[in-house]
Symmetry: C3
Subunit: 182 residues, 3 copies
Amino acid sequence: MSEEIEKQVAELEKQLKKLQKNQAKDQISIIAFSGDLDKMLAAMIIATGARAMDTEVKMFFTFWATAMLRDKKKCGTGKDFMSKMFGFMLPKGRNKAILSKMHMAGMGTAMLKRLMKKKNVASLDQLYEVAGIMGVKIMVCEMSMDLMGFKREEMIEYPDLDFCGVATFLANAKESAVQLFI
Amino acid sequence: MSEEIEKQVAELEKQLKKLQKNQAKDQISIIAFSGDLDKMLAAMIIATGARAMDTEVKMFFTFWATAMLRDKKKCGTGKDFMSKMFGFMLPKGRNKAILSKMHMAGMGTAMLKRLMKKKNVASLDQLYEVAGIMGVKIMVCEMSMDLMGFKREEMIEYPDLDFCGVATFLANAKESAVQLFI
Amino acid sequence: MSEEIEKQVAELEKQLKKLQKNQAKDQISIIAFSGDLDKMLAAMIIATGARAMDTEVKMFFTFWATAMLRDKKKCGTGKDFMSKMFGFMLPKGRNKAILSKMHMAGMGTAMLKRLMKKKNVASLDQLYEVAGIMGVKIMVCEMSMDLMGFKREEMIEYPDLDFCGVATFLANAKESAVQLFI
Protein backbone atom coordinates (compact mmCIF):
# COMPACT_ATOMS: atom_id res chain seq x y z
CA MET A 1 0.00 0.00 0.00
CA SER A 2 2.68 2.46 1.05
CA GLU A 3 4.48 1.89 -2.22
CA GLU A 4 1.43 2.85 -4.19
CA ILE A 5 1.03 6.06 -2.19
CA GLU A 6 4.68 6.89 -2.85
CA LYS A 7 4.04 6.60 -6.57
CA GLN A 8 0.95 8.80 -6.34
CA VAL A 9 2.86 11.45 -4.41
CA ALA A 10 5.70 11.42 -6.93
CA GLU A 11 3.20 11.84 -9.77
CA LEU A 12 1.51 14.75 -7.95
CA GLU A 13 4.87 16.43 -7.51
CA LYS A 14 5.55 16.14 -11.22
CA GLN A 15 2.17 17.60 -12.19
CA LEU A 16 2.54 20.41 -9.70
CA LYS A 17 5.95 21.40 -11.08
CA LYS A 18 4.48 21.52 -14.56
CA LEU A 19 1.67 23.78 -13.36
CA GLN A 20 4.13 26.06 -11.59
CA LYS A 21 6.24 26.30 -14.71
CA ASN A 22 3.26 27.26 -16.87
CA GLN A 23 1.77 29.72 -14.42
CA ALA A 24 1.81 33.34 -15.52
CA LYS A 25 4.61 35.43 -14.04
CA ASP A 26 4.10 38.72 -12.20
CA GLN A 27 4.87 40.50 -15.47
CA ILE A 28 3.09 42.97 -17.78
CA SER A 29 3.58 42.95 -21.53
CA ILE A 30 2.61 46.11 -23.36
CA ILE A 31 2.46 46.44 -27.14
CA ALA A 32 3.04 50.14 -27.75
CA PHE A 33 1.60 50.54 -31.23
CA SER A 34 0.26 54.07 -31.31
CA GLY A 35 2.36 57.20 -31.61
CA ASP A 36 -0.33 59.43 -30.09
CA LEU A 37 0.75 61.52 -27.12
CA ASP A 38 -2.22 60.43 -25.00
CA LYS A 39 -1.80 56.71 -25.64
CA MET A 40 1.96 56.87 -25.13
CA LEU A 41 1.37 58.68 -21.81
CA ALA A 42 -1.07 55.95 -20.74
CA ALA A 43 1.40 53.21 -21.70
CA MET A 44 4.27 54.85 -19.79
CA ILE A 45 2.14 55.58 -16.70
CA ILE A 46 0.98 51.94 -16.60
CA ALA A 47 4.56 50.73 -17.14
CA THR A 48 6.12 52.84 -14.39
CA GLY A 49 3.14 52.20 -12.08
CA ALA A 50 3.63 48.47 -12.48
CA ARG A 51 7.38 48.72 -11.77
CA ALA A 52 6.54 50.63 -8.56
CA MET A 53 4.66 47.46 -7.54
CA ASP A 54 7.73 45.42 -8.43
CA THR A 55 6.02 43.82 -11.43
CA GLU A 56 8.25 43.08 -14.43
CA VAL A 57 7.41 45.25 -17.44
CA LYS A 58 8.24 44.51 -21.07
CA MET A 59 7.21 47.01 -23.72
CA PHE A 60 7.24 46.10 -27.40
CA PHE A 61 7.42 49.23 -29.55
CA THR A 62 5.98 48.66 -32.98
CA PHE A 63 4.67 50.70 -35.93
CA TRP A 64 3.99 54.38 -35.08
CA ALA A 65 5.38 54.02 -31.57
CA THR A 66 8.87 53.27 -32.91
CA ALA A 67 9.04 56.88 -34.12
CA MET A 68 8.77 57.93 -30.44
CA LEU A 69 12.13 56.29 -29.79
CA ARG A 70 14.03 58.36 -32.33
CA ASP A 71 16.52 60.79 -30.89
CA LYS A 72 15.93 64.20 -32.45
CA LYS A 73 19.65 64.95 -32.36
CA LYS A 74 20.68 61.74 -34.13
CA CYS A 75 20.58 60.83 -37.80
CA GLY A 76 20.52 57.54 -39.65
CA THR A 77 22.80 57.12 -42.68
CA GLY A 78 22.53 55.14 -45.88
CA LYS A 79 18.76 55.51 -46.26
CA ASP A 80 17.05 55.22 -49.62
CA PHE A 81 14.74 57.93 -50.91
CA MET A 82 11.45 56.36 -49.79
CA SER A 83 12.72 55.74 -46.26
CA LYS A 84 13.99 59.29 -46.04
CA MET A 85 10.60 60.64 -47.14
CA PHE A 86 8.64 58.39 -44.78
CA GLY A 87 10.95 59.17 -41.88
CA PHE A 88 10.65 62.86 -42.62
CA MET A 89 6.86 62.72 -42.39
CA LEU A 90 6.81 60.87 -39.08
CA PRO A 91 7.28 62.74 -35.78
CA LYS A 92 10.92 62.68 -34.71
CA GLY A 93 10.87 61.64 -31.07
CA ARG A 94 8.32 61.81 -28.31
CA ASN A 95 8.19 65.59 -28.06
CA LYS A 96 6.58 65.81 -31.46
CA ALA A 97 3.74 63.47 -30.45
CA ILE A 98 0.24 64.93 -30.57
CA LEU A 99 -3.13 63.92 -29.11
CA SER A 100 -5.37 61.44 -30.92
CA LYS A 101 -8.31 63.81 -30.34
CA MET A 102 -8.79 67.59 -30.05
CA HIS A 103 -6.28 68.48 -32.72
CA MET A 104 -7.61 72.00 -33.22
CA ALA A 105 -4.40 73.02 -34.95
CA GLY A 106 -2.29 71.71 -32.09
CA MET A 107 -4.14 73.72 -29.45
CA GLY A 108 -5.44 70.63 -27.60
CA THR A 109 -1.92 69.20 -27.34
CA ALA A 110 -0.47 72.50 -26.13
CA MET A 111 -3.23 72.88 -23.54
CA LEU A 112 -2.77 69.36 -22.24
CA LYS A 113 0.97 69.87 -21.91
CA ARG A 114 0.37 73.07 -19.94
CA LEU A 115 -2.22 71.35 -17.74
CA MET A 116 0.19 68.45 -17.10
CA LYS A 117 2.88 70.89 -15.98
CA LYS A 118 0.46 72.74 -13.73
CA LYS A 119 -0.89 69.57 -12.13
CA ASN A 120 2.58 68.10 -11.70
CA VAL A 121 1.90 65.18 -14.02
CA ALA A 122 5.18 63.78 -15.37
CA SER A 123 5.93 64.60 -19.03
CA LEU A 124 6.83 61.91 -21.56
CA ASP A 125 10.50 62.88 -21.18
CA GLN A 126 10.35 62.39 -17.43
CA LEU A 127 8.38 59.15 -17.78
CA TYR A 128 11.01 57.68 -20.12
CA GLU A 129 13.74 58.62 -17.69
CA VAL A 130 11.87 57.13 -14.73
CA ALA A 131 11.05 54.00 -16.75
CA GLY A 132 14.74 53.55 -17.54
CA ILE A 133 15.76 53.93 -13.89
CA MET A 134 12.98 51.63 -12.66
CA GLY A 135 13.91 48.92 -15.13
CA VAL A 136 11.12 48.93 -17.72
CA LYS A 137 12.45 46.83 -20.60
CA ILE A 138 11.96 48.25 -24.09
CA MET A 139 11.92 45.91 -27.08
CA VAL A 140 11.81 47.49 -30.53
CA CYS A 141 10.09 45.68 -33.39
CA GLU A 142 12.74 44.95 -36.04
CA MET A 143 10.19 44.70 -38.83
CA SER A 144 8.81 48.17 -38.06
CA MET A 145 12.35 49.59 -37.95
CA ASP A 146 13.04 48.09 -41.34
CA LEU A 147 9.69 49.13 -42.81
CA MET A 148 9.93 52.72 -41.66
CA GLY A 149 13.59 52.89 -42.58
CA PHE A 150 14.83 53.71 -39.06
CA LYS A 151 18.42 52.88 -38.18
CA ARG A 152 19.55 51.61 -34.77
CA GLU A 153 21.91 54.56 -34.41
CA GLU A 154 18.95 56.97 -34.57
CA MET A 155 17.37 55.60 -31.40
CA ILE A 156 17.47 57.24 -27.97
CA GLU A 157 19.89 56.24 -25.24
CA TYR A 158 17.94 53.96 -22.88
CA PRO A 159 19.32 51.59 -20.21
CA ASP A 160 17.48 48.45 -21.35
CA LEU A 161 16.64 48.60 -25.05
CA ASP A 162 16.69 45.62 -27.39
CA PHE A 163 15.66 44.89 -30.96
CA CYS A 164 13.60 41.79 -31.64
CA GLY A 165 10.86 40.20 -33.71
CA VAL A 166 7.24 39.46 -32.91
CA ALA A 167 8.06 35.86 -31.86
CA THR A 168 10.30 37.00 -29.00
CA PHE A 169 7.63 39.35 -27.81
CA LEU A 170 4.86 36.75 -28.00
CA ALA A 171 6.96 34.30 -25.97
CA ASN A 172 7.20 36.98 -23.27
CA ALA A 173 3.52 37.92 -23.50
CA LYS A 174 2.42 34.33 -22.99
CA GLU A 175 4.32 34.21 -19.69
CA SER A 176 2.81 37.49 -18.47
CA ALA A 177 -0.16 37.94 -16.15
CA VAL A 178 -1.28 41.03 -18.07
CA GLN A 179 -1.07 41.98 -21.77
CA LEU A 180 -2.17 45.25 -23.26
CA PHE A 181 -2.25 46.54 -26.84
CA ILE A 182 -2.10 50.32 -26.62
CA MET B 1 9.12 5.85 5.50
CA SER B 2 5.60 6.93 6.35
CA GLU B 3 6.96 10.01 8.10
CA GLU B 4 8.80 11.09 4.98
CA ILE B 5 5.66 10.72 2.88
CA GLU B 6 3.76 12.82 5.39
CA LYS B 7 6.32 15.59 4.96
CA GLN B 8 6.09 15.35 1.17
CA VAL B 9 2.31 15.55 1.25
CA ALA B 10 2.39 18.56 3.56
CA GLU B 11 4.83 20.30 1.22
CA LEU B 12 2.62 19.52 -1.79
CA GLU B 13 -0.37 20.99 0.02
CA LYS B 14 1.56 24.19 0.69
CA GLN B 15 2.65 24.53 -2.94
CA LEU B 16 -0.86 23.82 -4.19
CA LYS B 17 -2.36 26.53 -1.97
CA LYS B 18 0.15 29.01 -3.32
CA LEU B 19 -0.75 28.09 -6.90
CA GLN B 20 -4.45 28.44 -6.13
CA LYS B 21 -3.88 31.86 -4.59
CA ASN B 22 -1.96 33.09 -7.63
CA GLN B 23 -4.34 31.66 -10.21
CA ALA B 24 -6.26 34.21 -12.25
CA LYS B 25 -9.84 34.82 -11.11
CA ASP B 26 -12.89 34.58 -13.35
CA GLN B 27 -12.66 38.34 -13.80
CA ILE B 28 -12.28 40.79 -16.68
CA SER B 29 -10.42 44.08 -16.33
CA ILE B 30 -11.14 46.70 -18.97
CA ILE B 31 -9.23 49.93 -19.34
CA ALA B 32 -11.72 52.29 -20.96
CA PHE B 33 -9.39 54.91 -22.44
CA SER B 34 -11.18 56.13 -25.54
CA GLY B 35 -14.15 58.46 -25.58
CA ASP B 36 -15.28 57.32 -29.04
CA LEU B 37 -18.87 56.12 -29.28
CA ASP B 38 -17.91 52.92 -31.09
CA LYS B 39 -15.18 51.90 -28.63
CA MET B 40 -17.33 52.77 -25.62
CA LEU B 41 -20.12 50.63 -27.08
CA ALA B 42 -17.69 47.73 -27.52
CA ALA B 43 -16.42 48.10 -23.94
CA MET B 44 -19.94 48.17 -22.47
CA ILE B 45 -21.16 45.24 -24.60
CA ILE B 46 -18.17 43.16 -23.49
CA ALA B 47 -18.69 44.21 -19.86
CA THR B 48 -22.40 43.38 -19.73
CA GLY B 49 -21.85 40.21 -21.78
CA ALA B 50 -19.27 39.03 -19.26
CA ARG B 51 -21.60 39.75 -16.31
CA ALA B 52 -24.28 37.67 -18.02
CA MET B 53 -21.77 34.80 -17.79
CA ASP B 54 -21.30 35.61 -14.10
CA THR B 55 -17.74 36.83 -14.65
CA GLU B 56 -16.61 39.72 -12.45
CA VAL B 57 -16.03 42.94 -14.42
CA LYS B 58 -13.92 45.89 -13.37
CA MET B 59 -13.71 48.90 -15.68
CA PHE B 60 -11.06 51.56 -15.19
CA PHE B 61 -12.12 54.81 -16.86
CA THR B 62 -9.14 56.94 -17.79
CA PHE B 63 -8.33 59.89 -20.07
CA TRP B 64 -11.04 60.62 -22.69
CA ALA B 65 -13.37 57.97 -21.29
CA THR B 66 -13.73 59.90 -18.01
CA ALA B 67 -15.65 62.58 -19.94
CA MET B 68 -18.28 59.89 -20.68
CA LEU B 69 -19.07 59.70 -16.99
CA ARG B 70 -19.98 63.35 -16.62
CA ASP B 71 -23.63 64.06 -15.92
CA LYS B 72 -24.83 66.69 -18.37
CA LYS B 73 -27.14 68.17 -15.72
CA LYS B 74 -24.41 68.55 -13.07
CA CYS B 75 -21.70 71.17 -12.71
CA GLY B 76 -18.37 71.21 -10.92
CA THR B 77 -17.47 74.27 -8.86
CA GLY B 78 -14.21 75.97 -8.03
CA LYS B 79 -12.51 75.21 -11.35
CA ASP B 80 -9.64 77.33 -12.63
CA PHE B 81 -9.73 78.89 -16.10
CA MET B 82 -7.74 76.17 -17.90
CA SER B 83 -9.85 73.36 -16.45
CA LYS B 84 -13.04 75.18 -17.41
CA MET B 85 -11.76 75.60 -20.99
CA PHE B 86 -10.60 71.99 -21.29
CA GLY B 87 -13.84 70.69 -19.77
CA PHE B 88 -15.83 72.84 -22.13
CA MET B 89 -14.09 71.37 -25.17
CA LEU B 90 -14.64 67.76 -24.11
CA PRO B 91 -17.97 65.99 -24.73
CA LYS B 92 -20.21 66.27 -21.68
CA GLY B 93 -21.48 62.76 -21.07
CA ARG B 94 -21.93 59.70 -23.21
CA ASN B 95 -24.63 61.12 -25.46
CA LYS B 96 -22.14 63.52 -26.96
CA ALA B 97 -19.76 60.73 -27.98
CA ILE B 98 -19.09 60.35 -31.71
CA LEU B 99 -17.64 57.59 -33.88
CA SER B 100 -13.89 57.27 -34.35
CA LYS B 101 -14.47 56.91 -38.11
CA MET B 102 -17.02 58.19 -40.62
CA HIS B 103 -17.35 61.62 -39.10
CA MET B 104 -18.88 63.22 -42.20
CA ALA B 105 -20.11 66.14 -40.13
CA GLY B 106 -21.79 63.85 -37.63
CA MET B 107 -23.76 61.95 -40.25
CA GLY B 108 -22.04 58.60 -39.55
CA THR B 109 -22.83 58.87 -35.84
CA ALA B 110 -26.46 59.81 -36.49
CA MET B 111 -26.87 56.94 -38.94
CA LEU B 112 -25.36 54.41 -36.55
CA LYS B 113 -27.63 55.58 -33.74
CA ARG B 114 -30.67 55.19 -36.02
CA LEU B 115 -29.48 51.75 -37.15
CA MET B 116 -28.95 50.70 -33.52
CA LYS B 117 -32.49 51.71 -32.65
CA LYS B 118 -33.89 49.90 -35.66
CA LYS B 119 -31.94 46.69 -34.97
CA ASN B 120 -32.80 46.80 -31.26
CA VAL B 121 -29.18 47.20 -30.20
CA ALA B 122 -28.99 48.77 -26.74
CA SER B 123 -27.90 52.43 -26.64
CA LEU B 124 -25.05 53.63 -24.42
CA ASP B 125 -27.63 54.94 -21.92
CA GLN B 126 -29.29 51.54 -21.72
CA LEU B 127 -25.94 49.75 -21.51
CA TYR B 128 -24.85 51.89 -18.54
CA GLU B 129 -28.13 51.18 -16.78
CA VAL B 130 -27.86 47.44 -17.43
CA ALA B 131 -24.20 47.46 -16.35
CA GLY B 132 -25.15 49.10 -13.07
CA ILE B 133 -27.90 46.57 -12.39
CA MET B 134 -25.71 43.61 -13.36
CA GLY B 135 -22.90 44.76 -11.10
CA VAL B 136 -20.17 46.01 -13.44
CA LYS B 137 -17.74 47.90 -11.21
CA ILE B 138 -16.56 51.30 -12.49
CA MET B 139 -13.28 52.72 -11.23
CA VAL B 140 -12.40 56.26 -12.28
CA CYS B 141 -8.76 57.28 -12.71
CA GLU B 142 -8.04 60.02 -10.16
CA MET B 143 -5.15 61.40 -12.16
CA SER B 144 -7.34 61.88 -15.25
CA MET B 145 -10.02 63.57 -13.15
CA ASP B 146 -7.41 65.94 -11.78
CA LEU B 147 -5.76 66.54 -15.16
CA MET B 148 -9.02 67.29 -16.97
CA GLY B 149 -10.32 69.29 -14.06
CA PHE B 150 -13.40 67.13 -13.45
CA LYS B 151 -14.98 67.19 -9.99
CA ARG B 152 -16.51 64.17 -8.29
CA GLU B 153 -19.86 65.94 -8.00
CA GLU B 154 -20.05 66.20 -11.82
CA MET B 155 -20.13 62.44 -12.30
CA ILE B 156 -23.21 60.34 -13.09
CA GLU B 157 -25.16 58.41 -10.46
CA TYR B 158 -23.98 54.79 -10.74
CA PRO B 159 -24.44 51.94 -8.26
CA ASP B 160 -20.79 50.90 -8.00
CA LEU B 161 -18.44 53.76 -8.84
CA ASP B 162 -15.11 54.40 -7.14
CA PHE B 163 -12.16 56.72 -7.63
CA CYS B 164 -8.68 55.23 -7.58
CA GLY B 165 -5.17 55.35 -8.97
CA VAL B 166 -3.41 53.19 -11.53
CA ALA B 167 -1.88 50.97 -8.80
CA THR B 168 -5.30 49.83 -7.55
CA PHE B 169 -6.33 49.02 -11.07
CA LEU B 170 -3.14 47.11 -11.87
CA ALA B 171 -3.54 45.01 -8.73
CA ASN B 172 -7.00 44.04 -10.00
CA ALA B 173 -5.82 43.46 -13.55
CA LYS B 174 -3.11 41.06 -12.42
CA GLU B 175 -5.74 38.88 -10.75
CA SER B 176 -7.97 38.83 -13.83
CA ALA B 177 -8.18 36.13 -16.48
CA VAL B 178 -8.73 38.75 -19.19
CA GLN B 179 -7.46 42.33 -19.60
CA LEU B 180 -8.38 44.68 -22.42
CA PHE B 181 -7.26 48.21 -23.27
CA ILE B 182 -10.07 49.77 -25.28
CA MET C 1 -2.24 6.90 9.85
CA SER C 2 -1.76 5.52 6.35
CA GLU C 3 -5.49 5.84 5.73
CA GLU C 4 -5.40 9.53 6.56
CA ILE C 5 -2.54 10.08 4.15
CA GLU C 6 -4.45 8.30 1.44
CA LYS C 7 -7.33 10.71 1.96
CA GLN C 8 -4.99 13.70 1.81
CA VAL C 9 -3.41 12.47 -1.41
CA ALA C 10 -6.82 11.91 -3.00
CA GLU C 11 -7.86 15.43 -2.03
CA LEU C 12 -4.64 16.88 -3.47
CA GLU C 13 -5.25 15.04 -6.72
CA LYS C 14 -8.73 16.54 -6.94
CA GLN C 15 -7.49 20.08 -6.31
CA LEU C 16 -4.68 19.66 -8.82
CA LYS C 17 -7.08 18.52 -11.54
CA LYS C 18 -9.22 21.58 -10.89
CA LEU C 19 -6.19 23.85 -11.22
CA GLN C 20 -5.14 22.14 -14.44
CA LYS C 21 -8.62 22.57 -15.88
CA ASN C 22 -8.70 26.29 -15.07
CA GLN C 23 -5.19 27.02 -16.27
CA ALA C 24 -4.93 29.24 -19.33
CA LYS C 25 -4.32 27.39 -22.60
CA ASP C 26 -1.51 28.16 -25.03
CA GLN C 27 -3.98 30.29 -26.99
CA ILE C 28 -4.25 33.92 -28.10
CA SER C 29 -7.57 35.70 -28.43
CA ILE C 30 -7.59 38.82 -30.56
CA ILE C 31 -10.53 41.21 -30.81
CA ALA C 32 -10.10 42.81 -34.23
CA PHE C 33 -12.18 45.98 -33.82
CA SER C 34 -10.47 48.51 -36.04
CA GLY C 35 -10.68 48.63 -39.81
CA ASP C 36 -7.46 50.63 -40.14
CA LEU C 37 -4.83 49.14 -42.43
CA ASP C 38 -2.05 49.51 -39.83
CA LYS C 39 -3.99 47.89 -36.98
CA MET C 40 -5.25 45.07 -39.19
CA LEU C 41 -1.66 44.43 -40.32
CA ALA C 42 -0.54 44.29 -36.68
CA ALA C 43 -3.36 41.88 -35.78
CA MET C 44 -2.59 39.56 -38.70
CA ILE C 45 1.18 39.62 -38.07
CA ILE C 46 0.62 38.72 -34.41
CA ALA C 47 -1.87 36.01 -35.37
CA THR C 48 0.35 34.33 -37.95
CA GLY C 49 3.42 34.79 -35.73
CA ALA C 50 1.65 32.99 -32.89
CA ARG C 51 0.60 30.11 -35.17
CA ALA C 52 4.23 29.74 -36.23
CA MET C 53 4.93 29.07 -32.52
CA ASP C 54 2.09 26.52 -32.55
CA THR C 55 -0.10 28.68 -30.32
CA GLU C 56 -3.85 28.50 -30.98
CA VAL C 57 -5.23 31.78 -32.38
CA LYS C 58 -8.83 32.91 -32.29
CA MET C 59 -9.74 36.25 -33.86
CA PHE C 60 -13.08 37.90 -33.18
CA PHE C 61 -13.92 40.40 -35.94
CA THR C 62 -16.26 43.08 -34.70
CA PHE C 63 -17.42 46.57 -35.74
CA TRP C 64 -15.21 48.20 -38.41
CA ALA C 65 -13.07 45.09 -38.81
CA THR C 66 -16.05 43.12 -40.15
CA ALA C 67 -15.95 45.31 -43.28
CA MET C 68 -12.45 43.86 -43.93
CA LEU C 69 -14.00 40.44 -44.42
CA ARG C 70 -16.30 41.47 -47.24
CA ASP C 71 -15.50 40.03 -50.62
CA LYS C 72 -15.41 42.85 -53.15
CA LYS C 73 -16.82 40.56 -55.84
CA LYS C 74 -19.81 39.41 -53.78
CA CYS C 75 -23.10 41.16 -53.02
CA GLY C 76 -25.65 40.75 -50.28
CA THR C 77 -29.34 40.71 -51.25
CA GLY C 78 -32.48 41.82 -49.48
CA LYS C 79 -30.92 44.81 -47.71
CA ASP C 80 -33.01 47.76 -46.57
CA PHE C 81 -32.12 51.31 -47.58
CA MET C 82 -30.18 52.25 -44.43
CA SER C 83 -28.04 49.09 -44.55
CA LYS C 84 -27.30 49.69 -48.23
CA MET C 85 -26.21 53.26 -47.47
CA PHE C 86 -24.08 52.25 -44.48
CA GLY C 87 -22.51 49.37 -46.37
CA PHE C 88 -21.77 51.66 -49.29
CA MET C 89 -19.88 54.10 -47.06
CA LEU C 90 -17.71 51.41 -45.46
CA PRO C 91 -14.61 50.06 -47.21
CA LYS C 92 -15.43 46.92 -49.15
CA GLY C 93 -12.76 44.42 -48.20
CA ARG C 94 -9.24 44.70 -46.87
CA ASN C 95 -7.73 46.32 -49.95
CA LYS C 96 -9.73 49.45 -49.29
CA ALA C 97 -8.33 49.82 -45.76
CA ILE C 98 -6.33 52.97 -45.04
CA LEU C 99 -3.89 54.01 -42.32
CA SER C 100 -5.16 55.47 -39.03
CA LYS C 101 -2.56 58.27 -39.36
CA MET C 102 -0.90 60.12 -42.23
CA HIS C 103 -3.95 60.30 -44.41
CA MET C 104 -2.62 63.09 -46.62
CA ALA C 105 -5.19 62.30 -49.27
CA GLY C 106 -4.22 58.63 -49.31
CA MET C 107 -0.54 59.32 -49.91
CA GLY C 108 0.57 57.78 -46.59
CA THR C 109 -1.28 54.55 -47.34
CA ALA C 110 0.10 54.35 -50.88
CA MET C 111 3.65 54.97 -49.61
CA LEU C 112 3.37 52.32 -46.91
CA LYS C 113 2.06 49.78 -49.40
CA ARG C 114 5.00 50.52 -51.71
CA LEU C 115 7.45 50.29 -48.81
CA MET C 116 5.94 46.97 -47.71
CA LYS C 117 6.39 45.58 -51.21
CA LYS C 118 9.98 46.80 -51.39
CA LYS C 119 10.90 45.40 -47.96
CA ASN C 120 9.17 42.08 -48.67
CA VAL C 121 6.63 42.56 -45.88
CA ALA C 122 3.54 40.43 -46.56
CA SER C 123 0.46 42.36 -47.73
CA LEU C 124 -2.93 41.95 -46.02
CA ASP C 125 -4.01 39.63 -48.85
CA GLN C 126 -1.00 37.40 -48.30
CA LEU C 127 -1.43 37.50 -44.51
CA TYR C 128 -5.06 36.34 -44.78
CA GLU C 129 -4.02 33.51 -47.05
CA VAL C 130 -1.20 32.46 -44.71
CA ALA C 131 -3.50 32.76 -41.69
CA GLY C 132 -6.01 30.45 -43.35
CA ILE C 133 -3.37 27.86 -44.19
CA MET C 134 -1.81 28.05 -40.71
CA GLY C 135 -5.15 27.58 -38.98
CA VAL C 136 -5.98 30.99 -37.51
CA LYS C 137 -9.65 30.76 -36.55
CA ILE C 138 -11.84 33.74 -37.52
CA MET C 139 -15.05 34.39 -35.59
CA VAL C 140 -17.32 37.14 -36.91
CA CYS C 141 -19.48 39.14 -34.51
CA GLU C 142 -23.12 38.48 -35.41
CA MET C 143 -24.32 41.71 -33.84
CA SER C 144 -21.92 43.77 -35.96
CA MET C 145 -23.01 41.91 -39.09
CA ASP C 146 -26.62 42.68 -38.27
CA LEU C 147 -25.94 46.29 -37.32
CA MET C 148 -23.93 47.07 -40.43
CA GLY C 149 -26.33 45.14 -42.59
CA PHE C 150 -23.74 42.66 -43.91
CA LYS C 151 -24.95 39.30 -45.18
CA ARG C 152 -23.07 36.03 -44.70
CA GLU C 153 -22.92 35.49 -48.47
CA GLU C 154 -20.90 38.72 -48.83
CA MET C 155 -18.00 37.41 -46.78
CA ILE C 156 -14.67 36.13 -48.14
CA GLU C 157 -13.88 32.46 -48.59
CA TYR C 158 -11.76 31.45 -45.58
CA PRO C 159 -10.97 27.94 -44.31
CA ASP C 160 -12.09 28.44 -40.70
CA LEU C 161 -14.69 31.18 -40.41
CA ASP C 162 -17.62 31.14 -37.99
CA PHE C 163 -20.32 33.55 -36.89
CA CYS C 164 -20.94 33.98 -33.17
CA GLY C 165 -21.88 36.33 -30.36
CA VAL C 166 -19.78 38.06 -27.74
CA ALA C 167 -20.48 35.28 -25.17
CA THR C 168 -18.79 32.62 -27.32
CA PHE C 169 -15.79 34.86 -27.77
CA LEU C 170 -15.52 35.71 -24.07
CA ALA C 171 -15.62 32.02 -23.16
CA ASN C 172 -12.63 31.53 -25.49
CA ALA C 173 -10.81 34.60 -24.23
CA LYS C 174 -11.04 33.46 -20.62
CA GLU C 175 -9.24 30.24 -21.53
CA SER C 176 -6.47 32.05 -23.40
CA ALA C 177 -3.04 33.00 -22.08
CA VAL C 178 -3.09 36.25 -24.06
CA GLN C 179 -5.93 38.60 -25.05
CA LEU C 180 -5.57 41.70 -27.19
CA PHE C 181 -8.07 44.35 -28.28
CA ILE C 182 -6.72 45.81 -31.51
